[in-house]
Subunit: 176 residues, 2 copies
DNA sequence: GGTGAAAGGTCATTAAG
DNA sequence: CTTAATGACCTTTCACC
């Protein structure tokens, strides 16, 4: 018996599609460390057959675990040294958020979430300088439906975004 | 004369390393859209020589604009459907943050920022369920030096993380 | 497992700042 | 004069059947 509930209807996750094993995790870790490796080279380093690696990769992509291999761009290297998190209250409007659509039009807005709590939206923005941040925030405030914003500047990022520890941890939890 | 200040010592950015031109932007956009493209294919689609694409890519990586080509992993596809932003107050300790180091040990903590405002740290965490989020937050609270936390759950993400609009926007601002 | 096709490197030439 | 783009050549390596 695994660690699943005995009452599977209480467990909303798709049982067979969420699982990765240790080999998957090692493959992802390897490709993260050296993304330009080919399938053959991966199979050598992992000590498995090349077909296995190819099948695992295809499966990971098909399941949506690996969504792509796009180039990771550093906004800071482009001169956008300032990162801020902006929470905002908006006029609640029925239907699919026109506010988010407008926010998506601002290049400096890197992501938008709807959130619990006092505010309605949280978005991550970048800017070239603090003064430039004011310009970006002005654009946000100008979006129709935005009532109020609150900005928090990220001074430092001791832990940059990463998922590798999570990936490595999943197989240790057994079949879910 | 470009748009730089006439007093360059007032401008802290490295003048020659932050610039990407239109070709760079198109290359990044192309690779983002179809990451599995080879250098040769890119050169065909962009209408430039293969060596040019190779040189541009090398330069982008060398300048830190492109930090890697790692596989993009979706925590949701691994069963981590809950995303939350946790702000926290900590005991201010001199020297490099031991709190951040401990937080980095928690796989579900995807990133950590030091921030302005009432709180000291902001981190993004994921969990399998809301109940599982409690477990993760308990681990955060258990970190020595953490005084208080405040959690905000991301209900939806109308704009997922993206940098492409930013990249496309940079060349339009001219030489920096 | 074999084969066609890229990747990756170097070079000389040419163009543009 | 410096920097970059180009096309040509080569060898190794990989992806696909």
């Amino acid at each position: 018996m695994n660690n699943l509930s005995s009452f599977p209807w209480q467990n909303p996750v798709n049982l067979y599609s969420m699982t990765i094993d240790d080999l998957d995790a090692r493959l992802i870790a390897l490709l993260t460390a050296e993304p330009r490796l080919g399938v053959l080279e991966c199979s050598r380093r992992l000590g498995v057959a090349r077909g296995t690696v190819q099948a695992r990769l295809d499966r990971l992509v098909a399941r949506g675990v690996v969504t792509g291999f796009g180039p990771d761009v550093s906004p800071a290297a482009l001169g956008y040294d300032v990162t801020a998190f902006v929470t905002m209250e908006i006029r609640q409007i029925a239907g699919h958020d026109p506010v988010a659509d407008r926010l998506a039009r601002i290049p400096e807005v890197l992501e938008v979430h709807t959130i619990t709590g006092d505010s309605d939206l949280l978005c991550r923005v970048v800017a070239r300088t603090n003064a430039d941040l004011q310009r970006v925030i002005d654009q946000i405030v100008d979006v129709h439906g935005v009532l109020r914003t609150n900005s928090i500047i990220a001074l430092d990022t001791p832990v940059p975004y990463r998922v590798l520890p999570l990936v490595a941890d999943v197989p240790r939890h057994g079949v879910r």
